[in-house]
Amino acid sequence: MSLLTSLWAVPALGAAACALSGRAARWTALVFSLAALGLSMAALRPILVSHGAGLLVEGGASGLFGISYSLSADGLSLALVALTAFLNLICAFASWELEVPAGYWAAFQALAAAVNGVFLARDLFLFYVFWEASLIPMFFIIGLWGSDNRRKAALKFFLFTFTGSIFMLLALLAVVIAHQRATGVWTWSLPELTGTDLGAGAPWILLALMAGFGVKVPMVPLHTWLPDAHTEAPAAGSVMLAGVMLKMGVYGIIRVALPLVPGAAAAWMPILALLAGVNAVYGALCAMAQTDLKRLIAYSSIAHLGFCLIGVFSGTAQGLAGAALLMINHGVTTGALFLLVGFLYERAHRRGLSDFGALATRAPRMAFFFGFSILASIGLPGLNGFVGEFMCLSGAAQSPILFGGLPFYALIGAIGVTLAAAYALPAFQSVFWAAEGPNSVSPKVFDLGGRESAILWTLCALMLWIGLAPQPWLATLAPSLQGLVR
């Protein structure tokens, strides 16, 4: 089995192995998660050595219906694959003491397999198959192991994504057919389809593609599934949803939508960037209004992905690189926050902001990690969030295609940054510092144990590392995005 294939096939085998290994499933999951992380590092190594240059390709010859088994990976793909493997391992540790059946562990492995397939596919048919296949394990993760309102949330999650992606499928088919009309060759290969002349249908195709990817990101107004899904999912499920699955949407925009319809995308870029700005501000405003800690973090994801898209739609090298880094950052930071809320919920079975108070004295380690992650999330210089958001906004300020080079979009983004502090810090304060109210469940909360602390030390170290030394990360990610710079 060659390297790129193994990146999705090993987790897929892991899913089967977990399902079969009964009570020992957590150990199986651990072994396969470690193997997947090792393989992704092995794949990433040559690209790290060559500072982001290089492209790994596998397969290629097209067969039935012009479909080919072909994978390719550059710095961006492999960074996201590595993020998936890393978060999956973190999730395995975080769920270690849960009383869950083998299916739980199998679902996470299957999810990693499908998501990695999305990041690696060079053939659009494969891309779509992996894209849709990733819904099935997450549907079960939310529906079986989520909290009270899980059934509705699971269905909503699946239906929203499917609705978007079926229009994406029609758009992909339209491109494939247009390519066949022009050249007489059936193919689903992304490099070959790039540059197909789509004529007057191009804006519609862009719209349909953005419907598919926009639901996943999610872009306002297609975001309404996210707060429910992220809130109802089990902690590890929320980590994978926010950390990895939202990135599929941004990755799809970068890898598929913008290259396939460059002309229409350029024409619509100001509108799309405006929507991204709305994301950043609206997500933050909604987060301010939340009384449930997990829901607050879910809405903050919408805001963060808004910054990310502002960077993407700026069309500048800086903005795109910032967006790519922000994808990694958000995975790490929001992952940590969801895990912390999960640990809190395991102890107190509550998540409301007003259910707690004065936790900093009862659980100082938890308070430290929470504060650290919150600061990273709102973009404190020196931590990871700052680098990505700053680059996205400065890219938007310099962008020649947005608002004639005036920093209008950067201004919207800046409002979003300010609002981030306005929702995150009061939430932190009311849970950890404010006096306990009459209904406080704080006495139930005990501090993090060794396993939990180790997980969060790892994540926080990563936040600090990316914040202090972002250059190697940017060098790995940025060359993949050169083609989109205008």
Binding site: E132, R150, L155, L170
Partner: protein
């Protein structure tokens, strides 16, 4: 004459099966084993005989071409689950084999009269099969059979009247009539209405949910797969023999409307069988859309393959879903609550079938929908395809809803324990259909040269 014998070898095998089953009735006390063996062996032998047949056009009556052969493959294979679940009743076996024979004759039809013979030959035994087969709900079955009979009789009458008009103008029963005048087009429209009646396309669908709900689930599986495949071929043959520009315009919209209507009504059903009946209606809509795309592309073989693949995938999915009902006796959606905790194996198989029916990759149902959408867009049918996509989304509401009922709900406190050894044949068949439905989706990937 030898050419005819070879071309119709599968049909001859089935006819021998029918007479054999009728002959069993003459024995004093026939063992059910004989009838069961006959029910399984006759379609298998017909499938084997299919290998001998070479495409041949033997005017005026017989035209065994690629589609005739391919459709027979799907029809005979789709009939196997009902054959395997056969109760061993000799009359039911004769009826079942007779209906299958009628479908085989329809596949070999070379002109409109032969098409009519095939239509009636497959329909008449099916009415009786609906009325007879099954253990419970006799009065409902009889009512449904009568309704089915009237609907079928109406379709037959429409066809004959249309045929008379068509013959009156063109003087032809076979292909090659050229452009039609008003009378001929009216005739073609009536004949097409008969075909759409049998497929169950909106607005000629009203008989279908009642019949599928009341018939025994195995029979409903047979009607929704083999019978539906034959009805679709009926429409395809009609378009082939009497091509009219109207087909390319009307069929896609009718198909999209049927898909949407079926999905919307299935969403509201509480009974599982009725839900599956409306879901079958929705799938029929996609098939009609596929035929429309085929007509619009001027009889393109790729478009025909898309329809054929859809039918093959649907034969597995629909048979599997109805067999789940037969294997478990689940009547309503409430009965399904917490099913995964009570019977993990059947729940997993049914969930796989539901994902396939919903068109989620990597299953055969996804490939089937993809191919139909693909051909529709190739034919420039953007809006009907978009409507059908909308229907797919709506349909996911109930397919996923059933998965949710099975996996995310808890069983009712007073539900009876499940006997895991009962109805083993049906259980194994459900599993086989589920595996087949998934593998069919992977097949195009497996055939890709690396």
């Amino acid at each position: 004459m030898t050419g005819l014998a070879i071309a119709l070898a599968p049909q001859a095998v089935l006819a021998a099966g029918v007479f054999g089953a009728l002959g069993l009735g003459l024995m004093a006390r026939p063992s059910p084993m004989w009838a069961r063996a006959l029910a399984v062996l006759a379609p298998l032998a017909a499938l084997a005989a299919l290998r001998l047949v070479v495409p041949a056009y033997l005017p005026p009556l017989v035209d065994v071409d690629f589609k005739g052969l391919a459709w027979q493959l799907v029809i005979y294979a789709g009939a196997l689950p009902l054959a395997i679940c056969s109760s061993g009743d000799d009359v039911e076996t004769a009826l079942f084999l007779g209906a299958t024979l009628g479908m085989g004759l329809l596949c070999a039809a070379g002109n409109l009269v032969m098409l009519f013979v095939g239509l009636e030959f497959m329909s008449l035994p099916a009415y009786l099969l609906v009325a007879r087969a099954g253990a419970q709900g006799r009065s409902r079955r009889l009512e449904a059979a009568v309704k089915y009979f009237f609907a079928g009789a109406m379709a037959g009458a429409l066809f004959l009247f249309g045929l008379a008009l068509y013959y009156g103008e063109t003087g032809r029963l076979g292909p090659g009539a050229g452009a039609l005048g008003g009378l001929g087009r009216a005739g073609v429209s009536l004949m097409a209405a008969a075909a759409l009646f049998k497929i169950g396309a909106v607005p000629l669908h009203w008989w279908l949910p009642d019949v599928y709900e009341a018939a025994s689930p195995e029979v409903s599986g047979f009607l929704s797969t083999s019978m539906k495949a034959a009805a679709v071929l009926f429409l395809v043959r009609l378009v082939q023999i009497a091509p009219d520009p109207m087909f390319a315009v009307v069929l896609p919209w009718l198909g999209a409307a049927t898909a949407l209507y079926g999905a919307a009504l299935a969403l509201r059903q509480k009974g599982l069988r009725r839900l599956l009946a409306y879901s079958s209606l929705s799938h029929a809509g996609l098939l009609v859309l596929g035929v429309g795309a085929w007509a619009r592309l001027g009889g393109d073989p790729d478009a025909l393959r898309a329809i054929l693949f859809y039918l093959a995938a649907y034969a597995l999915m629909s048979n599997g879903a109805f067999l789940f009902v037969a294997a478990t006796g689940v009547q309503t959606r409430d009965d399904l609550k917490g099913w995964a905790a009570r019977s993990g194996g059947t729940a997993a198989a049914f969930a796989a079938l539901l994902f396939a029916l919903g068109g989620i990759p990597p299953t055969g149902g996804f490939m089937a929908k993809l191919l139909v959408f693909w051909q529709s867009l190739r034919a420039g049918l953007v809006w009907p395809a978009a409507l059908a996509a909308l229907a797919s989304i709506v349909s996911l509401g109930y397919y996923l809803g059933l998965v949710r009922d099975m996996y995310f709900e808890v069983p009712a406190a007073n539900c009876a324990p499940i006997d895991a050894s009962a109805r083993a044949r049906e259980r194994i068949l459900v599993l086989a259909c589920a595996v087949g439905a998934v593998v069919l989706g992977l097949a195009p990937l497996l055939r890709i040269r690396p």
